[in-house]
């Protein structure tokens, strides 16, 4: 076990910011290794996509995105379940087409925490605690898109999208860059 301390006087904002990035697990050619087997942060190398593939960007309304991580399982066999969600603010064909593709595609998602600006991955796991290699064997699955038009003029329309991922550990800090143009 390690010390778990806290530094006073530093920024520590809640929430997630920017967009969410999503790719089908099958479209990923290789993941970076962890910088060290004992800690959930990758080395400063990038996710490499298969030819013609890239990460897609998902806009979410500010202060609607969140990540919730809970312990699941029985004593001696516990794991961590992560739910990532965010609200897309407009009902219509763009949203409907996206949901249709999201809903049955095992995926890898990347989000950015407000507290430190760093990127985190769900859908990539360290299966062997003593090894730095990451695996795509446990992808993130689309859980729900609670979509609606709203009723009152002051209501929201659009959808609250969510993905769930369960592994032995929390999301992994990603020290690389997210590829936004198709791989050659």
């Amino acid at each position: 076990m390690n010390d778990l301390l806290f530094t006073q006087g530093k920024d520590n904002l809640a929430g997630i910011v920017d967009k969410i990035f999503i790719a089908a697990s099958d479209d990923i050619d290789s993941l970076p290794d962890l910088a060290a087997a004992e800690s959930l942060v990758t080395a400063a190398t990038d996710i490499v996509m298969k030819s013609t593939k890239k990460f897609q960007q998902l806009y979410i309304t500010d202060e609607t995105g969140s990540v919730t991580i809970t312990s699941v399982g029985e004593r001696d066999g516990k794991g961590r379940q992560t739910v990532l969600q965010g609200r897309y603010p407009a009902l219509g064909k763009e949203l409907a087409d996206a949901i249709r593709l999201y809903q049955n595609t095992p995926s890898v998602l990347i989000y950015r925490l407000a507290r430190n600006g760093k990127l985190y991955i769900i859908g990539a796991s360290q299966l062997d605690q003593s090894d730095v290699g990451l695996s795509l064997a446990i992808p993130a699955y689309f859980t729900n898109a609670e979509a609606g038009s709203g009723a009152l003029r002051s209501d929201q329309n659009g959808a609250l999208l969510s993905w769930t991922w369960t592994a032995a550990h929390d999301p992994i800090e990603y020290a690389g860059a997210v590829p936004l143009t198709p791989a050659p």
Partner: protein, 61 residues
């Protein structure tokens, strides 16, 4: 008159920056957010070079 063969002169359309191995020319990073290497401000480029994401395509740039 023969043309100069000075290799510091690059073709007009030559890319000024190259991403590190196997990274695409448009990417998102924690340091600067969304980056397009073909529309990159020099000040931002210096930060990305320091962080190791990109390199200058020519030493004299």
């Amino acid at each position: 008159m023969s043309k100069s063969k000075d290799d510091t002169i690059l073709p007009v359309n030559a890319p000024k920056y190259i991403p590190r191995k196997r990274l695409t020319r448009k990417f998102f990073c924690a340091e600067l957010g969304e980056v397009d290497l073909d529309k990159l401000h020099p000040a931002k480029a210096e930060k990305l070079i320091k962080a190791g994401y990109i390199a200058k395509s020519h030493p004299n740039l």
